[in-house]
Each structure stands twice: as C-alpha cells, then as structure tokens.
Amino acid sequence: MSALEDLTSLADARLAERFSDTREIERLLQGRLLELRDELVSRARLHFLHYEKNPNYSSSNFTGTELKFHSSTSYEVAVNMVEARSPSQFISTLASDMILSNIGDHELSIDTYRLPVGWSHEVFNPGVVLEPSEKHRLNPGATLFLCSATQVPRIIPPAGEPALMLKIAGSKLRSLIWNFDPVSLRAQFTAASWVTGQRLKVAAKVLGAVEGDWNREKVIPALRRILGDENHDVRWAALESLCLLDSELGTKHLREATADPHPHIASTAARTLDRLGIARA
C-alpha cells in the first residue's frame, strides 16, 4: 500500500471515534514522510494538470492555503501552506485537535499559547488573555500534536519560504473560533467555526426584517428551527427576530431563554424581560 493509503487506513482505525491516541500515526509520519511527500506531490500535480487542460478549472479541495487529500467523518488530511503573517493578524484558536507535520525543506517554528484556567470556550469574554507557552522548532519530518482545548498555535514560516505542513485534523469540536490581538494577546472576537452557523445567523436576521403580508406558516417554523442551533449567537439572532415579528411568541421564547445553557443568552433574555416590565415566568 502507498504511504497515504497506510496513513488513512491507520487513521480510520485509530481516529474513528476519538482523536486522542495519535502515537502510531506520528510514528508512521516520521518513518515514511519522504514517501508520503512524493505521493502528495503526484496528487497535487494532478490539480495542476486540470488547470493546464481547462483554464476555468476550480477545485473545492483547494482553498488557497490548504489542499485537501482525504476526508472522512472523523478526520481530514490536507497540506497546509502558511506564509509570513502580517504583524496585525489575529492569533486564532483551533476548531479541532490536529497533528501537524513539517513536510517542507526547512525548519519552521510554532509558538503555542495557553488558554487560562477556567476558560470557557462557548462564553466570549474580552478579559481573556493568552499566556505564552512553548516554542517548538520543527525540523523537516518532525510532528506536533495540538489540542484545541488548551493550545493556540502561531505558525512562523522559515524566512522567505512558506511553511508546508501535512495536517491531520479531527472532527470539529469547537463551534467558535476565538481571535486574539497578536500584541496584547487579549480576546477580540469570536466567529462560528463553520460557515453554516454564520449563514443561519444572517438568515435569522433577514427573516426578522420580513415586511407586509409575510408567510407565518413558513417563517415561524424556520426561526424555531434556528432557535435550536448549537451556536448561541445563531440562537440569539433567531430569538431577536421572533420578538420583532410576534411579541407574544417572542415573550414565550424569551422566558424559555432565561434557562438557556449559554450564560449570555440567559442573562440578556432576563434583562430584556425586566426592561420590558414582563415577568420572567
């Protein structure tokens, strides 16, 4: 079997349920990295051949910084290219645990930062400040496991060259990406870690702006569906829109929201009811 096939069958067996015991995968990466790299080059070259044959070719597997080679329900394998950062670029948390392996020709650096004890991923707090942790030097072939719950990486490519890494990323564990100022290391804002959440938030806002003879039979069930989203920001957008469209129904959902698992929703719902002079229950 080819190195990539060996890697994916090993990953299928080891990472199917939990992204935890990655030692065998790291061993395989270290032992067969050159072989794997040759195979990735052959596959990447196929993309390039498409461009040569069809100038209008575009691949959803290539984002401009990441070329995906394999994906399953529990993990994906991609090559990532990281170029020199702008000094003002935010430092961002990871959505999933991952193994990174330096498959370039030069040493690269990964500075990791620690999230403070008691950090709650779901609850944005502008007072959260990253703590510098370890500085890793990855020679060609070296691998590093990153835990999304505790580590925030900052990848520093070699001078004048992009960093090239093989990434094996587990399924998404975090619904939010936190973004930190690179100088003060303070939290700045969060964003949904997958685009559907952001799209649903926009959809909820649009539905809240519906005018005229709107279709209650469609709009209310749609907003109620969004109200059950895992992302609290999306839930709140749906709640706001329900309140705008139907004060009675909105009040009912505001009362329910005072028991929302996310403290920002619970407290904002309670404050809103108080401000409106409506009993919480």
């Binding site: 401009g64 290219m81 090239l164 804002f189």
Partner: protein, 309 residues
C-alpha cells in the same frame, strides 16, 4: 460607465419564472443581454415574498444543509444556478461593533473597499434603504505593466444609494466602486452571468483619494498562484512541463507570469519561454520579462533579447 436606472414597474414573477426567462435569453458574455434581462430581474424584485419563502424552505429542508453548496461568504445567498449564470441575494448589515473595537461587518462585506469587478453584473435593491456607493470609472487598458501603485485616472465620480427597485449594471474592469454600510439591514439581488473573465483576469483594490491601484482582490487567479507556490515548495521541479506549457499559452496573463517566475526560480526558464515572455501580449508579462529575465539570467539572455529587440 455603470448604468444606474429604475426600470418600469414590473409585475411580480416567481424565481422559477425569472430563471426560465434567463435560461432562454441570457447571453452571458454580452453586457447588452444583461440590460435586456432587467425586466425579468425587476419582476423578481417586485416579488417581495419569494426570498423569505426561499430562506425558510432552505432552513426547514429535511435533509440538505442550509445553503450547503454555497462557496460565497455568509452574507450571500445563492438563489439559483443556471447553465450560464447564477442569481444571488446579498444581505448588507449595518456596522456592528463587538465591544472590543473590532467592527465585525466591515471585513465580511468589504465595506469602504474600493474595487472593480472582473465580470459584468446587474444588481437591484430588494429590501431596506440599501447601501450607498461611490462609483467611478477608469480605463484599465491604459495601465501598462504591473498595475499596483499606478495612477488609476478615475473619473466621473458619483454617489448612488441602492434603494428598493433601483438597478445598477456594472461593466467589467472599468467601473470602480465602494460600499458604505446601510442604516438598516438591506438586501440586493444580483444577476451574475458566467464569464471567462472571472477565471482569467483580476479584480483590483483602489485608493479613491490618491487615485491609485493599491492591490489585488483575492480570487481565482490568486488562488491558482497559491497552488503554483505550494507545488513549487512541495515538489521542486516535478511539474516543470506543465509550468512551461502554461507559461506559453495560458489565457490569464498573471498566471503566465507566475509560471514564468516559478520556472526562473527553478532554473528552468528556457529560451523559448524567455523569448515568449518578451513578446507576450500582456504588458504585465513584458515588463517583468524586461526587468527580471534580463537581470536574473545574465549575459546569455541579454544577448538573446538583443537579437529579438
């Protein structure tokens, strides 16, 4: 110049009826055809319920994820994809601050970012007060060589608010505009004909005050360049034959230039490609060839170039 107009009042039509008209009549590479489509788009814009119904159906669909195949940013809703065009709705949110000073909507909507388009398209205000936009025009052909840093010679500046029912037909490459956030949530509908230019030419960013081109907007050409860079770093010279073919004949000037640069970096810029670069149809490639090829390849190349010139 961008055509700003208010079409005659149209009877509301469904999304399906609008798509049916476009399927039959739209000629995607012809800007005139886009203006002919104004009636169908005005009919769709007069239908003030279709978008909300469309969104609700998408959200409550039993199996398909909401807008699952949409590759645009989250404020764009794909309404219909035809054989040679697509229809989309753009949602424009007022500026939101996050409390930490970060303005969330600025980046998502590219507010205040003056840009041109590498495609022509038609837009109509559908809901809300609409974004304001400062529109100007320039002649990109007059820019010789690398555009970044050059004078844009923008003229004909005028401001428009894309209020409900108003249409703007933007010309590819020549029309430059920015978007200023609306006071409240606004929605525009866009008719986007599929055009080869999207894959083969660039969009630029401008500084309106200094009247200069200041950068490339990330798109398909940039992405292709990133793959060239990634392969170069990953695979060394293993794809020189493809690079060479593309350097000689790819229909996008900047892609040809990126291939030539990579060949030069790999020490694989042969005489055929070198001479072709000097006679390339694009001044962007020619300028690079004169500066970079001559200086980087030394006397042998200079001798060859001397013969050509």
């Amino acid at each position: 110049m961008a055509t700003v107009f208010r079409p005659p009042t149209a009877s509301p039509i469904s999304l399906a009826a609008c798509a049916e008209w476009l399927d039959v009549n739209l000629r995607p590479e012809d800007p005139e055809s886009m203006l002919e489509a104004a009636g169908a788009i005005a009919g769709l814009a007069a239908n003030q319920s279709f978008l909300f119904d469309f969104i609700c159906d998408g959200i409550t669909h039993p199996t398909a994820p909401y807008q699952g195949s949409n590759t645009y940013t989250d404020h764009t809703i794909i309404l219909h994809t035809g054989a040679n065009y697509h229809l989309r709705a753009n949602v424009w949110l007022p500026t939101e601050s996050y409390g930490t000073g970060v303005k969330l909507t600025e980046d998502i909507h590219a507010y205040h970012l003056a840009h041109n388009h590498n495609f022509h398209f038609l837009t109509v205000g559908y809901h809300g007060p609409g974004y304001r936009t400062l529109i100007a025009r320039h002649d990109p052909i007059s820019i010789v060589g690398e555009p970044i840093g050059q004078k844009a010679n923008l003229h004909g500046h005028h401001e428009v608010q894309l209020e409900r029912g108003l249409m703007i037909a933007f010309d590819a490459h020549t029309d430059v505009h920015n978007q200023i956030p609306p006071e409240s949530l606004s929605i525009s509908l866009n008719l986007m004909p599929n055009q080869n230019s999207v894959m083969r030419t660039e969009q630029f960013e401008y500084n309106l005050e200094k009247d200069t081109v200041i950068g490339y907007i990330r798109g398909h050409v940039t992405q292709r360049g990133k793959l060239i860079k990634m392969l170069g770093a990953l695979g060394g010279g293993s794809y020189i034959p493809e690079l060479r073919t593309m350097a000689l004949s790819f229909p996008c000037a900047r892609t040809r230039l990126m291939c030539m640069r990579e060949l030069l970096r790999l020490g694989a810029l042969d005489d055929t490609v070198r001479f072709a670069s000097l006679e390339d149809s694009s001044s962007l490639v020619q300028e690079w060839a004169r500066k970079a090829v001559v200086s980087a390849t030394g006397a042998r190349a200079e001798a060859g170039i001397g013969t050509l010139n």
